[in-house]
Structure formats: structure tokens, C-alpha cells
């Protein structure tokens, strides 16, 4: 049995945090790793887009955006009506689960390449497309939430409502959108000239991903206390939502005529929950919401679930349905 290198580094990070090993990632290094992964994924997608651009891709993209709109609409009623969460907390968490995790996507790509499973190289386009719709739905839910219970945050402190300009800026120009869309456009327009940066962005990708996962393992382990505090409902939600989103992504990928690898990646995108772009957007859009609740669920429950169990499970299920 061979252990995936990325998963091994993630487990090492969990172990290091549990035994309280003195490993300290400078915050700026972690941010650099995230920036690297976003640019690299965008560039790869742009290069592929230049080679595979077609009208079929436009229709696929439109349907993928619908998936991004649907996921938070599934999550919100579960959190609000069953979980009895406050409306703005439910809206914020729903937006996190409707959007995507670039880190989870990177792990899935490394997993498929290690398994020798081919996939459409333009899938990074879908990563970018899935970033935004959930934030928009989250903001619409947020608008309703603000009209119901405006002005007070989780600590009972009065907060100012964000302006529409601020919200639009956060949705369109957050770190993930700018770097990934920018990478896509550069990769698309540069053509063969991308070769100049290939050694840095493409060949170092798995090494950077390993360091990123080491840090994520430590972060996830540090959130174990939060999981205990969140209780069994949030644990169940944090596992159930990626299964639902993953199955939707898997079926959608196969229905769109994607390859098995492409359908697995769409399943992983449906299953993943954002912990970088959406928290920043929700911080502006919904200052009343308890941000630690959504981050703990997406980072402490869903990210480890997807990395350790979700990705291999979606691989088996997709291969099963495709056969």
C-alpha cells in the first residue's frame, strides 16, 4: 500500500499539533503558499483554456454556475430550520459550503495524477466560476438576515451595515478571484511563453502543496476543540453537505460528458467548502455572523473529511457510475 504524499503531510501536521511540536509557519509563508497555489491553478487552467476553448465549454460553464447557486440554497434551510442557527449564521455558513476550496481542489488534482486518472485540463475555469455564485447567494440571504436582525454581531456589539459598493468589491476583487482569474487570463494569452515560468509554478506545485497541507493539518488539529463545542449537529452537517455536494457534482460531471477524472474533480468542487475567499467576503457582508462557526466547520470538519475520505470516496463512486 502506498500512502499519498499530500495526505501523509496532512497527517504529519495533525500529529505535530497533537504532540505540541514546536513547528511554526510564519503567517506570511502560509499566505505565500496560498497565493502560489491560486496563481499556479489559474495559469494551468488558462493554458488549457487556450487549447480547449469551445461553445460546449460555455454551456458546461453555465451549468456549473447553476451548481454554485444551488449548493448554498440546499445548505441554508438545513442550517436554519433543522440546526436552529441564527439566520445570518446560517447564511454565512451556506455561502462557505456553496463556494469552493482551492486547497481541496489541489489535493484532488495531485491524487488523480498519482492514480494516473486523466481529467480535462480546463477544470480550473470551473474553480473560478464556482467561487462567486455562492457568495452572491450568501449576500442575498445576508440582505434578508440584516433586515430581520440588523446591526449586532455575535458578541452583541453594534456593527455598521456594509455598503453595496463594499460588497461588490469583496465579491469581484477578493484575493482568490483576482489571482485565479488573473492567472487564467495570463495563461490563456501567453501561449508558449508560459514555458518561462513553468519550472516555478508547475514543477514545484506538489512540493508547495505538501507544505500547505502540513500547515493545514496543524490548523485542522487546533480546531478539534471547536468541533467538540459545535456539537454533533454541525459534525453531521460538515460531513453530510460535502457528500450531497459531491454526489451532485459527480452526476453533473457525468451528465455534462466530462471524463471520469473531470467528474471526480467536479464532485470535489461540489463537496469542498471555502475557508479563504468566502470568510473575507462574509466578514464584510455579514459582520454580525459568527465567523469562527463557519471557519471551524469548513476547516475543522469538511476539509479533513474531504482530504482523508471524501476524495477517494468520490473517485470510487464516480468510477462506479461511469462503468
Amino acid at each position: 500500500m502506498q500512502l499519498d504524499v499530500g495526505i501523509a503531510f496532512f497527517i504529519l501536521g495533525v500529529f505535530a499539533a497533537l504532540v505540541r511540536a514546536e513547528i511554526q509557519f510564519p503567517k506570511s509563508l502560509y499566505q505565500s503558499l496560498v497565493l502560489f497555489l491560486m496563481v499556479a491553478i489559474g495559469l494551468k487552467g488558462g493554458v488549457a483554456l487556450a487549447e480547449h476553448a469551445s461553445w460546449e465549454l460555455v454551456s458546461q460553464s453555465f451549468i456549473v454556475i447553476l451548481l454554485g447557486l444551488l449548493l448554498p440554497l440546499i445548505a441554508f434551510p438545513v442550517l436554519y430550520y433543522i440546526g436552529d442557527l441564527k439566520r445570518y449564521d446560517a447564511a454565512s455558513i451556506a455561502a462557505h459550503y456553496g463556494s469552493v476550496s482551492v486547497g481541496t481542489y489541489a489535493v484532488a488534482v495531485a491524487f488523480l495524477e498519482a492514480q494516473g486518472i486523466a481529467y480535462e485540463p480546463y477544470i480550473p475555469l470551473f474553480v473560478v466560476l464556482l467561487e462567486m455564485p455562492a457568495i452572491v447567494v450568501g449576500l442575498l440571504l445576508a440582505r434578508q438576515a440584516q433586515s430581520v436582525d440588523a446591526g449586532v454581531n455575535a458578541d452583541g456589539v453594534q456593527v455598521a451595515s456594509p455598503s453595496t459598493k463594499q460588497l461588490i468589491h469583496e465579491v469581484l476583487f477578493n484575493q482568490g478571484m483576482v489571482l485565479m482569474v488573473g492567472g487564467l487570463i495570463i495563461g490563456y494569452l501567453a501561449g508558449d511563453r508560459v514555458d518561462k515560468v513553468t519550472p516555478f509554478f508547475f514543477e514545484l506545485f506538489n512540493g508547495v502543496l505538501a507544505l500547505f497541507l502540513l500547515q493545514m493539518g496543524m490548523t485542522a488539529a487546533s480546531r478539534l476543540g471547536d468541533i467538540k463545542r459545535l456539537g454533533s449537529f454541525m459534525l453531521a452537517f460538515g460531513v453530510a453537505m460535502p457528500i450531497v455536494g459531491g454526489l451532485l457534482g459527480c452526476f453533473l460531471g457525468l451528465a455534462l460528458g466530462l471524463s471520469v477524472g473531470g467528474s471526480i474533480l467536479l464532485a470535489v468542487l461540489g463537496a469542498s467548502a471555502s475557508y479563504i475567499a468566502v470568510p473575507a467576503a462574509m466578514h464584510v457582508a455579514l459582520p454580525q455572523a459568527n465567523q469562527s462557526l463557519s471557519i471551524s466547520a469548513s476547516l475543522g470538519i469538511t476539509f479533513p473529511f474531504n482530504v482523508l475520505i471524501g476524495i477517494p470516496t468520490f473517485t470510487v463512486i464516480t468510477q462506479w457510475f461511469a462503468a
Binding site: G83, A236, A240, I243
Partner: protein, 66 residues
């Protein structure tokens, strides 16, 4: 824990266990899903039972004097 939350957790636990059972015929990862499903269902039951057990409430006579 409300009954809605309990039922949801229990259903998710059972569904994960069943999904794990199906996946286990294809790959060993199914066992992990089954274990996780059982753990979620068990945690929901334990939380529910703990919530129902009567706990001694502090009275004014037992409250610490400031």
C-alpha cells in the same frame, strides 16, 4: 440538542454507514465511512441522553457567598 438536530444527526450517521457499506465492496475507504457514520450516530445518541439526564441545579443556599 433539539429533536430536529438529533434526527438529522442520526439520519446522517445511518446514511454514511450505509454508503460506507456500499463503497466497502469496491474500496477499503468504505470502512472509514462506516466508522464515521457510526461515530456521528453514537455521538448524537450520547448527546441526547446527556441532555435528558437530570443534573443538580445550584440553589441559592449552595451558591458561593461573595
Amino acid at each position: 440538542m433539539t429533536s430536529k438536530q438529533f434526527n438529522f444527526s442520526l439520519v446522517v450517521g445511518v446514511m454514511l454507514t450505509l454508503l460506507g457499506g456500499v463503497v466497502a465492496s469496491q474500496a477499503s475507504i468504505g470502512i472509514s465511512l462506516m466508522v464515521l457514520g457510526v461515530a456521528i450516530a453514537a455521538l448524537a445518541v450520547v448527546t441526547k441522553l446527556r441532555g435528558q439526564s437530570p443534573e443538580p441545579k445550584p440553589t441559592s443556599a449552595l451558591a458561593p457567598v461573595e
